[in-house]
Symmetry: C2
Subunit: 786 residues, 2 copies
């Protein structure tokens, strides 16, 4: 939604406090811009108090000097000087029809800016003056900073020249930074007694911001004409041109910087998972100038003068599955600041700090409830899976008295299509299939081909892999079922004939492994419950996973173990992608109905701000490392283990999640998926009718939706990770629809594909309207390609 025009430089004027001279100094900026022959727009979205003849605002409008070049507007006017949160009440019966909620308010500004932009022929300047201080409330209730943030206009801060003004100016600046605002200049009145500018100038020079102190305005004269004259003289003598020129330079530098970024990025970066040989040039580089809620603000070098150079682009992969509350959520920023300001990073072995302890206890009481006793911290899903593997393999080795080389030869039992991260240990827990491998990748284990779930032609279908379909004559390769709820009612399905087929198949397969060549001794069971994400958004039949766990545990051969001990094999659930409500549930464990011995969380854990991962373990696993000998400890750790910033942000995320689960949008989405007479274990933010409709389209092979995730598999004979079919089919989502009515700012869609699967993912608080628009866009594209 950000606004940036090549031929219209806009600055938003914030005040360090109320009554610091915002309007006067904005007037000065307007006049200086006009004196440089620029067309100038002055916008004061809210004004409190009537226009007096001698007011500065009046002068902007009526000064003959620049009258032809200056356009001023005010969206809302209140006739008493009050805070806007009261204005709404006070203005009832007066202009109350103009009092509107946030979105419309911002859109009004947007459309005004666009009208102004189209009016300007040459380079023009615009100043948008805010009301009160940086955190004064707006009509809608949020404060100025948060309300205007989606527009992401660069700012000028009007400092406070009075006693206490140093503090007010610095604090206001810090509040601007906390929302990521660009502060291009600080202006304040010169005061020869308090001399705030003397302190502020070097203070902000160190922070890269120029402070300009100007003369204060003359006192009001007894009559309006005289005041008008003296005010005119005041403005004429005010030398604020260097600031205006500096703002021009900053604007040009910002555009030049954005223009240069694709080339420089192509020259400096080595992107992850990108074949640089397929990146055709600068237009293939997404320049993200800022982000807000679920949208990137993306630079468009090709845009016309009349349109913003920044396009809204929906972050429809939730930035590689990390986002929970959209980008730049103020609560997460404040949490990060709070922990950074209190601790920085402090080392963790044998130490404790509140953010880490709170997070550990939250996780043990959440996904770990009922089984986990310990939390091990690391940096990302991959490192946390390496920790999980080290835990499981050691626990197995210790119980089975493996020695020396025997320990090196163990492997894992898993499912084909699984993915656990990009470090080599995590890779080794996955089958070597296709292109996802490297020199030292040495897959250690055995992987079963699992049955999968999808919606085809409006009905949930369980697709059995060939080996399984062949394993029983009663069994066809595809099993259609009545409802998605039924499919995910694992407990209810445990006694079905299909469950028996799964049980037999798994048992027979495991029996056969003892004599199979090239299969190592299995020392752990590793699963991504419900969905194997990176493997291609494969929705596994949860019944199969549950039975796999049950069968493995039932085969336990060790002498009677203590209650709570792991049985058969240590079981690892990789919940990096599926955990923490990505699929609409805090953890997949209750759905499966079988607890693991080890589980891993990451991604959403920090609400999508910084890397942090956790590995939860049962006491039984922990005991395998416990003893009098340092050498037996888990000798694994990263420098930033349990960094306070990440833990504090994670705790804040957990609180936001709790709130989100009670939100109207959440409850409404759940209600839409409620099937009469069934247990409503699964639901999605995506509309069930939309999902059904898409599943019947000609280009679509199958669809699935769960929680925030929508996966669409397109028909493609030569599928696989390097397939471009989904990308090609949906390509047009990446451009905005210029036909869209200007009242609703249109957005393009930034999405990722995995071969012939296109997936779309919301945050936990994405606006339902946004999801509906996206559903329409997807439907349109698929419809047109039919």
């Amino acid at each position: 939604m950000s606004l940036l025009f090549k031929h219209l430089r806009i600055h938003q004027i914030f005040g360090a406090n109320t009554d610091v001279g915002k309007t006067i100094l904005t007037t000065a900026l307007v006049r200086a811009s006009a004196s440089l022959k620029n067309e100038v727009f002055y916008l004061k979205p809210i004004s409190t108090g009537p226009i007096q003849d001698a007011d500065d605002e009046h002068i902007i409008r009526h000064s003959s000097t620049f009258k032809d070049r200056v356009h001023a507007d005010c969206l809302y006017r209140f006739h008493v000087p009050v805070s806007p949160h009261l204005a709404a009440q006070l203005a009832a019966g007066e202009e109350s029809q103009k009092i509107v909620p946030d979105g419309t308010f911002i859109n009004s500004i947007r459309s005004y800016v666009q009208r102004s932009a189209s009016r300007a022929s040459g380079p023009a300047h615009m100043y948008v003056e805010t009301a009160g201080g940086v955190h004064s409330p707006t009509l809608s209730g949020t404060t100025q900073l948060d309300c205007y943030r989606p527009l992401f206009l660069p700012t000028v801060l009007i400092g406070d020249s009075r006693l206490g003004g140093i503090s007010a100016t610095i604090s206001a600046y810090e509040s601007l930074l906390l929302r990521g605002y660009i502060v291009d200049a600080i202006l304040l009145f010169r005061d020869d007694y308090y001399r705030n500018s003397e302190y502020l100038t070097p203070y902000f020079a160190e922070r890269g911001v120029a402070v300009t102190a100007t003369d204060p305005p003359p006192p009001k004269a007894s009559d309006a004409a005289e005041t008008f004259a003296s005010t005119e003289r005041y403005y004429e003598n005010l030398d604020i041109l260097p600031t205006v020129r500096d703002l021009n330079t900053r604007h040009e530098e910002r555009l030049a910087e954005l223009d240069s970024m694709p080339r420089r990025s192509l020259d400096a970066f080595w992107w992850p998972f990108v074949q640089h040989g397929l990146v055709k040039g600068e237009k293939d580089v997404t320049v993200i100038d800022s982000a807000s809620s679920d949208f990137f603000s993306v630079y468009n070098s090709q845009t016309t003068d009349k349109k913003s150079s920044l396009d809204a682009q929906l972050d429809s992969s939730a930035s590689w599955w990390t986002q929970a509350f959209g980008h730049a959520h103020p609560a997460l920023t404040l949490a990060a600041a709070r922990a950074s300001g209190r601790y920085g990073h402090v080392m963790f072995p044998q130490a404790t700090h509140a953010p880490a302890l709170e997070l550990a206890e939250r996780l043990l009481d959440g996904p770990g409830k009922g089984w986990a006793s310990r939390v091990f911290f690391s940096d990302d899903g991959s490192t946390a899976m390496e920790v999980a593997l080290k835990m499981a393999l050691r626990a197995y080795s210790v119980r089975n008295n493996l020695r020396g080389i025997e320990r090196k030869k163990v492997g894992v039992l898993g499912l084909k299509g699984s993915y656990h991260g990009d470090t080599i240990g995590a890779m080794d827990a996955c089958a070597e299939e296709g292109v996802y491998t490297c020199e030292w990748h040495n897959a250690k284990g055995f992987w079963l081909d699992p049955p999968t779930i999808s919606i085809q032609h409006g009905r949930p279908v369980i697709a059995l892999p060939p080996a399984l379909a062949a394993s029983d004559t009663m069994c066809e390769s595809d099993v259609a079922s009545d409802s998605e709820s039924w499919v995910y009612d694992v407990a209810g399905r445990l006694q079905t004939p299909l469950a028996e087929v799964y049980r037999d198949y798994i048992s027979r397969t495991l029996d056969g492994l003892h004599s199979a060549r090239g299969v190592p001794r299995l020392a752990a069971l590793v699963l991504e419950p419900i969905v194997m994400g990176a493997g291609g958004m494969i929705f596994v039949d949860p019944l199969f996973q549950r039975i796999l766990v049950d069968v493995v545990r039932a085969r336990d051969e060790s002498p009677a173990t203590e209650p709570g001990s792991w049985r058969g094999l240590p079981v690892i659930y990789d919940e990096v992608f599926v955990g923490l409500y990505r699929l609409g549930m805090q953890s997949t464990i209750p759905l499966l109905g079988a607890t693991p011995d080890i589980s891993v969380n990451a991604k959403i854990l920090t609400g999508g701000l910084v890397p942090l991962a956790t590995t939860l373990a049962s006491d039984s696993i922990f005991r395998a490392f416990y003893g009098p000998d340092k050498a037996e400890a888990l000798l694994h750790g990263h420098s930033y283990t349990a960094h306070a910033l990440g833990c504090e942000v994670a705790n804040e995320s957990m609180k936001l999640i709790e709130k989100a689960t009670q939100s109207e949008a959440w409850l409404a989405a759940q209600a839409r998926w409620q099937e009469p007479g069934t247990r409503n274990s699964v639901w999605s933010f995506w509309d069930p009718e939309f999902v059904q409709t898409v599943s019947s389209m000609d280009t679509v092979a199958e669809v699935m939706a769960l929680g925030t995730v929508l996966a669409i598999k397109v028909k493609d004979s030569g599928a696989g990770y390097v397939s471009q079919s989904a990308q090609t089919l949906l390509q047009s989502l990446k451009v905005t629809d210029s036909e869209s009515p200007s009242e609703v700012p249109d957005f393009s869609v930034h999405f990722r594909t995995l071969g012939n699967v296109a997936y779309f993912m919301t945050s936990l608080n994405t606006a339902p309207e946004t999801i509906r628009i996206l559903e329409n866009k997807i439907w349109n594209v698929l419809q047109n390609s039919d």
Copy 2:
């Protein structure tokens, strides 16, 4: 330095602005505390304006009601209401002798608090009132928030009830959070017109802070006696007791929380590299309540009533080698906030954002200058090394046309004692020596035993490993040299006889490997230049590493390669620990005089705040992955790749480093190590005389100092990673010296050992006085154990 007493609850009163009623509301708090029969201390470190008979401050002192129970003090008084940055000038000739720099100022408060604490018999309350707003300057030039931060007192924020006060209050609160302060309550006057409290109460309730609005004070009467009387009545009717009780509760809860943390942490955490079986109990848990500069504030449950329950503990491992500017540096916090507020995290493949691009360009122009063309981002040193290994092995495999299983069988050439991280791929690049291993660790390569450098009895000694010492008759096992500078003058030593010995030894060893059993085909050379940190702070002779690189490259057998191509083997420098001035130099590359093909940075990269790592690569390496096929790309990436927060903090760190290299302390330390007539390539923050002295002590085997690092190897026959000898010898550093004069707050030392090596590490801006005190402490402990 933090202050927290069991029987003295202290709150610091900050103002959202000047003139918001700080003194009045503090007076109200003082009186309410006194009315609850608590002894009360009121401290106003700075007061501007004289005491008038009818002043609130006067009333605190003279109100008969609580006179016996209330003690008030003021450290500095100025007779005009100005900002403190001017007070210092204005007060000249008046009380200017009292105007002192920061440290002393804080120590005055500290000692006043301690005197007060010893005076109080039962539970007492203290209110420390600050001057002006939260960011009003102090006498020393920094603002209130930054100046008082080391004391880390919990705070009460006095909100602003006037027009604009909503904004002022929220901004002040945010500035407090940016320094990590605990905000226990917000108080402000009720104002029936502006009704700020109506907005602020729910706003802060959502953030966990209670807002209390009180009646405003009565207007001043015409004479002092009447004013005194009406003011007394005002205070008597003010119901602020609930706030005082809430502050009491918060204080008790904080103590209870700290008290409970060791037990809860022992129950919930699985610490990295810790044998929980050796953690004896709660007293073995370091509870870090906050941190500031190089100090932890550590909870001490055993402390007496008269001493703070929080001890200062020097973070002498720089929190596992991460810290560059001490904990909670405001510039890093602001950088984190800025990026979080502007971007959150935004996904990186084929995208770009300013913080990542700026950082990439800085690194290419810094450690990568002259050889690197690309930056690959990941999350920690271990993942960045996995990336480096994937790059190197692929480049080798491609050039040598290795196919299928051949690619899986390659290994690396390295040095014994090396360490590259805890993920299994990084482990596999290290020899399997001793306890540092795990089930899937499969060391792939060959590792040479390198010559090392240390200072013994005041002289630098090059110790040759047996194989090397035996390789030439001219060569003894230890070679004493004239000076450390000479040892590190790699270019100057290239033609020495020892260089020839190294060259022959390396060549012969590599020749022998072709026919050696169990040695894989070598596909990369991997080095930690200068120091192998985790291996035991092993200072390797840099000449040996240089010659190793030279020999490997000279053996290049491939047909003529393009200029700039890697030769022999791709060379990886792991600079995770040694880079970015940890050793006093930006990169070790200029010292070695041979550029790598790949290098890795982490740890100091973010100034010690959050995990982030980079792998730099030459164009020649990059080209091995470049092509038309996605399958040939480097298919590695983590969700938070190039997270904006980390990149922005890293950029800020780089700027702070640039400044630090010009600082007085830096230049003075360099000057101390300057040896006449030699090239001063190496230096240290540690005093050369101290290093020499310690190297001659009886319990000490050898010492080394470089940049921020001091390593002391103690004499121990049975050394190794699990040895406790260094830990045992220096144990007493972990407790404070109660004999220390109270004027200089004493600190204990949090240090880590690696077997028989104790190491100590400064930040890049540690105060020289702190280092001198630490040197004395170390010397004393070693002296007493002699």
